[in-house]
């Protein structure tokens, strides 16, 4: 079953202009953070959006939970179009869709006790009274491994470690028994030795609540570990989507291949490298045609003229490239 469908979604952010630029009536400029992306997510799946900083993966996540308003396109969640739903219409949805942020130091209210942070959504949504909410929060503390729960209930966020705080953030997101979670780099600020526990906790809730998870990460190794499907983004576009193993074993887009050949790995195997020239282009004026063309070793003239469409290549594999690396397949 399709849980979420995104069609041609766009979000442009206006660039702040200086006073002088305004006087000179310079044309308004936009950062094309998300520039026409489409994908489908099946229920109970983990779908990872992978890309480097500035590719638009975080904005995509924020659009889906409607913390940002889309400029164009469609977001369909469980069959209903939520693209331009207003706050009132969004309310029941907020119970079903939750987000976990990267920075557990910034996402928790420092003046609230841990227990109150976890219980709050129940009260806000009128699901439980104060006493019931406390009971639920205590159960949830136990569930996320913050034991003894009565002790953790009374602590403030600053008394916890980064890993413990992220557990609190997860507890708060899960207390409403959501259907859909956006997890935005949930382990990138946590010490290496503790990351596995946080990822496992997410997977535990996934099977407990039959969750679907949109997992946003820059780390292909983490994406490989937990996702069913991976989509790779570059400069506001999705360049490739495939099931996890297929994408790793058989990347079709030169950008995906370049990413894969750069990820550090404990296996010191000699890898066939794709070297991209230069660095990511400016998202205000992205390159014409395929956005990777100025950096791509395989670019030909068509790549600067025509934007490649995301095309089906069989085996659950989609790629947006005029010259995909198909010859490697056979």
């Amino acid at each position: 079953m399709i849980e979420l469908e995104v069609v041609d979604l766009k979000k442009y952010f206006p660039v702040q202009k200086s006073f002088l630029e305004r006087l000179l009536a310079k044309e308004k400029q936009f950062i094309k953070a998300v520039d026409g992306i489409s994908f489908k997510m099946f229920s109970r799946q983990v779908f990872s959006l992978v890309g480097e900083s500035g590719c638009g993966k975080t904005t995509t996540g924020r659009l889906i939970v409607r913390l940002e308003k889309p400029d164009a396109g469609k977001i369909v969640f469980e069959g209903s179009d939520i693209t331009f739903a207003n706050e009132k219409q969004l309310r029941p949805l907020r119970r079903k869709i939750q987000i976990i942020f990267q920075d557990p130091y910034a996402s928790l209210n420092p003046r609230m006790r841990v227990g109150e942070i976890i219980a709050e959504p129940l009260i806000v949504h009128g699901i439980a009274d104060k006493k019931e909410a406390k009971e639920e929060a205590l159960k949830m503390l136990e569930n996320v491994g913050l034991t003894p729960p009565h002790m953790f209930y009374r602590l403030f966020p600053h008394q916890l470690s980064g890993g413990q705080r992220q557990r609190v953030a997860i507890a708060r997101a899960m207390i409403l028994k959501p259907k859909f979670i956006v997890a935005d780099e949930p382990v990138s600020m946590i010490d290496v030795s503790l990351r596995a526990a946080i990822l496992k906790l997410l997977m535990k809730f996934k099977s407990l609540y039959n969750l679907s998870i949109l997992f946003i990460t820059h780390d292909l190794a983490v994406a490989r570990l937990i996702s069913d499907t991976i989509a790779v983004m570059y400069l506001g576009k999705i360049v490739e989507i495939a099931s996890t193993e297929e994408l790793i074993d058989n990347p079709l887009h030169p950008y995906t291949k370049a990413l894969l050949s750069s990820v550090p790995s404990l296996i010191r195997r000699k890898r066939e490298k794709i070297v991209l020239k230069g660095e990511i282009a400016n998202p205000i004026n992205p390159p014409s045609g395929c956005r990777l063309h100025p950096r791509c070793p395989y670019a030909e003239s068509i790549c600067s003229r025509e934007e490649p469409k995301l095309i089906f290549y069989g085996n659950n594999h989609y790629v947006a490239c005029h010259f995909p690396l198909v010859n490697r397949r056979y």
């Binding site: 030795s193 503790l194 490989r224 750069s262 550090p264 790995s265 404990l266 296996i267 990511i280």
Partner: protein
């Protein structure tokens, strides 16, 4: 010429804070050979950065080198006056930091900063220094016209290249790189690491790569030193650390990280890193160690020499 470039013996670096004495580096010994890249690996609070900064004697005011020896090419750095030490920094030891934006002067052109460093150490004309700076930029893969750029006009990767040019322009014997690629995306990270590895060969220098990422160290470094809670727990060639980690902490670290090319289960290390103002008794890893026995709680384990290149600090091997 001796094979060993840098020897650290029984080094102790403590921070004197309001919360008490923090034993950030506690009795660490380590030897680094010429032309060797050593990955100094650990999590936050392991003391890896403190060790790096102690070598160049650039500790924050609360930090003190309590005892020990740091010998670079026969010279005990801890015996040098601060003006002698200034001559060592830049000339004999180059430094690359995590965030080039905070370590480059934002108001000075890149070229002027490199020239200033050169003239501080070598007695040549300004013109010659500029030529040297231009050559250094080319060696790190930047066009020489970048000499006229200000740091903010460069991308993150380019700035880190400038930092590396600055660190290598005087052909130091040792480069200390503290998380040099942590602020960068993977594709740029890979190229910066490639650059460091090739400069190591060309300039015949040794590199200490301080990183939290054991995969990064495993790929590029010849040896890996694993730190935890102020102690050095294992030191071995990278291949051996990866294929046969001996210390339970190293084993745990390797089990806890996912790898893009391997299908594997990952396992966290139970518990949390200790508070160094109040570290656990005996082996500092014992509260998290699956093999801990009664002795581990009581007595600090000795550093055991497994072979010429391999050391581990653990009762399991004593």
């Amino acid at each position: 010429m001796r094979k060993t470039l840098l020897t650290i013996e029984n080094l102790k670096v403590y921070y004197y804070t309001g919360r008490g004495i923090v034993r950030a580096v506690d009795d660490v010994s380590l030897a680094i050979n010429r032309r060797e890249m050593v990955g100094l690996v650990g999590e936050s609070g392991s003391g890896k950065s403190t060790l790096g900064y102690a070598i160049v004697r650039l500790l924050p005011p609360q930090g003190k080198i309590v005892s020990g020896k740091i010998v670079l090419d026969g010279k005990n750095l801890l015996k040098l006056s601060s003006s002698e030490m200034r001559k060592v920094r830049g000339k004999e030891i180059g430094m690359v930091f995590q965030d080039p934006l905070t370590s480059l002067d934002p108001l000075q052109k890149v070229g002027d900063q490199i020239v200033e460093t050169i003239l501080e150490h070598v007695n040549i004309s300004k013109k010659e220094a500029y030529d040297m700076a231009a050559k250094a930029l080319m060696e790190v893969g930047l066009p020489p016209d970048r000499l006229d750029s200000y740091p903010h006009q460069l991308s993150g990767g380019q700035r880190q290249r400038v930092m590396i040019a600055l660190a290598t322009v005087l052909k130091p014997k040792l480069i200390i790189a503290d998380e040099p690629t942590t602020a960068l995306d993977v594709i740029v990270q890979d190229r910066i690491m490639e650059l460091l590895a090739s400069l190591k060969e060309e300039l015949n220098t040794s590199i200490i790569l301080i990183t939290h990422d054991i995969s990064l160290a495993a790929e590029r470094a010849d040896k890996i030193a694993v730190m935890y809670a102020g102690h050095l727990y294992e030191y071995a060639p990278s291949d051996e650390i990866v294929s046969k980690p001996l210390h339970p902490y190293t084993q745990g670290l390797i089990q806890s990280i996912p790898d893009v090319f391997v299908r594997k289960e990952i396992k966290e290390i139970k518990g949390n890193p200790p508070d160094l103002a109040n570290p656990p008794s005996g082996c500092r890893f014992h509260p998290r160690c699956p093999y801990a026995i009664e002795k581990c709680m009581r007595k600090e384990p000795p550093t055991v020499r497994i072979n010429e290149n391999r050391y581990v600090k653990c009762w399991l091997y004593a």
